[in-house]
Symmetry: C2
Subunit: 342 residues, 2 copies
DNA sequence: ACAAAAAATGCAACCGGTTACACCCCGCCG
DNA sequence: CGGCGGGGTGTAACCGGTTGCATTTTTTGT
């Protein structure tokens, strides 16, 4: 059995209280006493039991990290780079991460089992939906939380990339190259990020004087398979491919789209240009690297964690932080003018 | 504040003890009482506080998952797919995962802070090294653990893919295609997996009657950057590239190698064939998909978790489980005969 | 030198459960 | 009719810390 605080107290001839304070560097204990207690603790190789400590002070020094819902997985590249950023900040501040088993429909019971009664001090979530049910749940339980992604519920902390602006950039670039039939692969309809990217696409087309053609807005789900299948479907029947360029709402779908195009012998970017969104590392592994709207993914994670910790450490907050980080188009060399122009 | 067990007890007119037993389905509680208590608990939406519960019974229902050391990161694709498998099994059994902040040199003090005194019931680790210092540490602290990766210390539970056999397969395939100058990019020297893959490479060459040429064994570190740089180095000086094929110890390095080759205008597989190891999902996103030795990554994770839970639930085990899972070569279409043969 | 203020420490309750053991009540047996 | 046995429940200690408040010790002021 590990040695306990009571034991240390006995060894030092003081009370548990003093030991506790000494180890917490409480200024109320006399420096020499403190010194001595620490010395003894070190000799006995004593370390306070975190569970007991957490129980006593009602906190856990643990943050719950909720990952994207199916069909996306915890192994989603975007999520992982983001997680990397989150973890680096949390760890710097002595927090651990708990990846809970949550498979909620609307964020209720399943979540409560793991997050509610004292397992975590706060939660970071991804992919807010319109009127996300999890928000009400967390607020009701008075649990601090931050979203990766803008929410449509006011008073909620979030950090996001500039989705609309990024989509706008992408479409503009394709237009500049001469494309006029620009398809878009959307994300899952309910996700706010998907909607904002779609809005950027629409706005760009409109401002450029192009019609917004519903037949060029294809439904995706942010997975590679989704991108692949939606493009396959539009390649059916031997008809001419209806677009000269595709803007995919994220890189995974862009990758899937490219695979589908390759399978029918279409070259990227010679025959069809493709631009993705996110700037996941994997995109750089392709040859040529994927043209994409680069989000500062790692930075987003760090910022999310920072905002949450701010809430936690400064107690009940004085206003909720919301931040939009800039995005930029990268690897623009890997798109081209449409065939008829070349 | 959440409602407590004492409160429920008062409401029911019984003692905390009875409530505790009723909720735990203790047979000593009269069925009707049990029924009633459960009913009341439900009405009050009561759920026992896990931290308190854990403190009282000295366990946590949490597993520590240690991730690879620098230069690899928590966002390493292999690790994440593996983590996915681990998590699915753990969650099925009601366990959570704790990703601790560990940056140990040889697995000592840093680790103890997060794992030792009662935060986790068990630990899963990756990437055992030769005479891994963490083993002694965990054993000393009487902490159940399982490694992903064969260890050289007897009596330790582990699960691994067939590293040597996989490497052997890869080299054999390259030989079959006509390659005779087959380079290998190794993993970090101290890692047992790296050594076993190197052994498979050596054994294959020897059995095929080829010399083992030290100049064709290039040092890598299991990162993409490592693969990239080692190949760049061997492309220096305008000399002819010394190999017609590369076997990289993992996929990330294979991807890095391919990038380096592309940068000097060499085509894969026309000019140089490349085979990786692991079969991470990202490899399938390349065009053409990466030829690689596919490990059952997800399954490895599941198995690791299962072995650990077995240790935990069946108390002190009567013999430690060790398992080697089979691997197979995939996407073999994306390697080719060496140029002079074509 | 003595009282008052300040500093240091101890006491004991508390966090929210679990569990060994004591206890009570009742039916059954001799 | 008294005692035994066992099911059902309560008591209280315990897990290992934290912390408000009381108490003791030391310092400071006059």
């Amino acid at each position: 059995m590990k040695i306990s605080m009571a034991e240390i107290a006995r060894q030092c001839g003081v009370s548990k209280a003093t030991v506790s304070r000494a180890l917490a560097d409480d200024p109320r204990v006399k420096p020499e006493t403190k010194e001595y207690i620490k010395e003894v603790a070190k000799r006995f190789n004593y370390e306070p039991h975190p569970i007991a400590s957490n129980l006593a002070r009602g906190r856990t020094k643990t943050i719950g990290v909720v990952f994207p819902a199916a069909p996306r997985t915890i192994a989603d590249p975007f999520f992982l780079e983001y997680l990397n950023g989150v973890s680096s900040i949390l760890f710097e501040h002595g927090y651990s991460m708990l990846l809970p088993q949550v498979s909620w429909g609307e964020g209720d019971s399943t979540m409560s089992q793991l997050l509610a009664p004292g397992r975590v001090d706060g939660v970071v979530l991804t992919e807010p939906r319109v009127d996300d049910g999890r928000i009400a749940f967390l607020q009701k339980n008075n649990m601090p939380f931050v979203f990766l992604g803008q929410t449509n519920v006011p008073g909620v902390a979030w950090v996001d990339g500039d989705n609309e602006g990024g989509a706008y950039l992408a479409v503009q670039e394709l237009y500049r190259l001469g494309h006029r039939r620009i398809a878009m692969i959307t994300g899952e309809r309910g996700l706010i990020a998907a909607q904002n990217r779609l809005r950027g696409y629409r706005r760009a087309l409109t401002e450029l004087g192009l019609p917004v053609n519903q037949d060029l807005i294809w439904a995706g789900d942010f997975t590679r398979e989704g991108g692949y299948h939606t493009v396959r479907n539009h390649l059916q029947g031997g008809a001419k491919f209806p677009a000269t360029a595709i803007f995919a709402s994220n890189d995974l779908m862009a990758i899937g789209a490219i695979q589908a195009l390759h399978e029918v012998g279409l070259q990227v970017p010679e025959d069809v240009s493709v631009i993705g969104f996110d700037g996941i590392e994997v995109g750089r592994y392709l040859s040529p690297p994927l043209t994409t709207v680069q989000q500062p993914i790692n930075e987003l994670g760090r910022e999310v964690a920072a905002v949450l910790l701010e809430q936690l450490e400064k107690g009940r907050r004085k206003g909720v932080r919301q931040a939009t980080l800039p995005v930029q188009l990268v690897n623009v060399g890997n798109t081209a003018a449409p065939p008829k122009f070349s």
